[in-house]
Symmetry: C2
Subunit: 268 residues, 2 copies
């Protein structure tokens, strides 16, 4: 049996600039699919384009409109390719309407000096962290095993507080190995930060950016293990807030940093 992640990112190549996919019921969110799976689909579309070289370095996904259940087209344009970098413009289209727009940079990496400036926080191991996650009606969340270190989503017995930080261990529940599309999806697993401050409210990501900090060989060391994620907001103001997050492997390697701008309605 194939993993629902592989089913969801599967795309049929129509021609060089067009691929066709379909939404997957197990990745359903409140409205349309989980944003992380859409990011994974768009990244995967570029990965399998015949002109692609290098590995993902940067991805920006703009959620322009809800994706309806069913088929969608992914259009790809290689805007610019140079010796080490490729710049892609990608759109997810249904019925002629752009539902998602994206840009991506693919790049070759080379050996240089390096250092991790944002170190992994000291935390309990996953086995000692709090199992939990999103309510059952958020279908995609059931595909992940989440163990909370800090900032459990408010709900029964958990009140909103002053912090917008969540730190958690997360892995695919079926332990599918982490590849770049999976890492892109993990960049979007954090519930809207406003929930921690104000409780559950209507909220949705408008734009997210992910920076990938490892090449394939370093990513391979993650395997099917847990990844530690930590997310916080910098500001909530006039209907929008931001989120910045980091994802580390168990050995402390910083795999990705990711940022979002999110709308919210607080009924005021």
């Amino acid at each position: 049996m194939r993993h629902p992640f592989d089913e969801a990112i599967e795309l049929n190549v129509v021609d060089g600039g067009l691929q066709r996919g379909r939404t997957h019921p197990e990745w359903a969110n409140m409205v349309g699919p989980f944003g992380g799976i859409t990011a994974a689909v768009l990244l995967h579309a570029i990965e399998q384009h015949p002109d692609r070289f290098g590995e993902p370095l940067a991805l920006t996904v703009n959620f322009a409109a809800p994706i309806a259940d069913g088929e969608f087209d992914v259009t790809l344009q290689l805007a610019r390719s140079n010796r080490t970098n490729q710049h892609w413009i990608v759109q997810l289209v249904q019925d002629g309407i752009a539902k998602t727009t994206a840009t991506a940079v693919f790049a070759t990496r080379r050996d240089t000096w390096g250092d991790i400036q944002s170190r992994m926080p000291h935390t309990p191991v996953p086995e000692e962290a709090i199992e939990g996650g999103l309510p059952d009606f958020i279908r995609w969340a059931g595909l992940y095993d989440m163990r909370f270190v800090e900032g459990v989503v408010p709900g029964k017995g958990v009140e909103p507080g002053d912090s917008s930080t969540t730190t958690l261990w997360v892995r695919d529940r079926a332990q599918r190995r982490v590849d770049f599309p999976a890492l892109a999806a993990l960049c979007d697993i954090f519930t809207p930060r406003v929930f921690l401050r104000r409780g559950a409210l209507p909220a949705g990501t408008i734009s997210m950016t992910a920076y990938f900090h490892v090449g394939q060989a370093q990513l391979d060391t993650v395997g099917d293990d847990f990844v530690l994620g930590s997310a916080h907001a910098n500001v909530f103001n006039r209907g929008y807030f931001d989120q910045s997050a980091r994802l580390w492997g168990t050995d402390g390697t910083l795999l990705a940093t990711t940022h979002q701008i999110v709308y919210f309605k607080d009924g005021k």
Copy 2:
């Protein structure tokens, strides 16, 4: 006399999807123009598009190739417009080649609960901070008045260290008021973080994202005053590093958060 910023962002509207501009010698960087002025140009192109509504919320600029001195075309596509958000795809083109690609979200704002989670650090006032900046041959830097609180660029008498953080007060030297294009440019004023760790090296921004956290009325309170900026890297690895930065008004309002992915060569 017009300010060189207003001269640099001036664009002639050719038709609904095409505007024409030209590089400005005072905004020259090592190779091509300062990335911040390119970001400002692209934002300004959307601002003056007849179909634009709302204010800038998110901007991602991908620096695909060096911009040559002279004229350039800006192509604009409104990918999607809904009740409160607009999604734009913009490119800067010279001789048929995409030099820069960008996506932007414009949005209307509404009154809601709000809070600043990333508070402005306590710092000396600008008058007590260290005047300085980039070497004279970085022409655009002379247009800004920079007062360093932390993380002066290494050079004569300043050695690289363990921190990648710079905190500084900055304002336009001629005290041009801060509007959204100016705020976009300020998002890119920080020298490459790798300089603080390894000294000056070949380095350049590949992609930057800016989130704007205030509307026009709040931005107007900044006026021509200093803005406090603080930037740090999360990781340096295999030829690339990231940067995250925040910009506050003197009253502590978080005006923008901004992120970059940058290449570097360290000769290893």
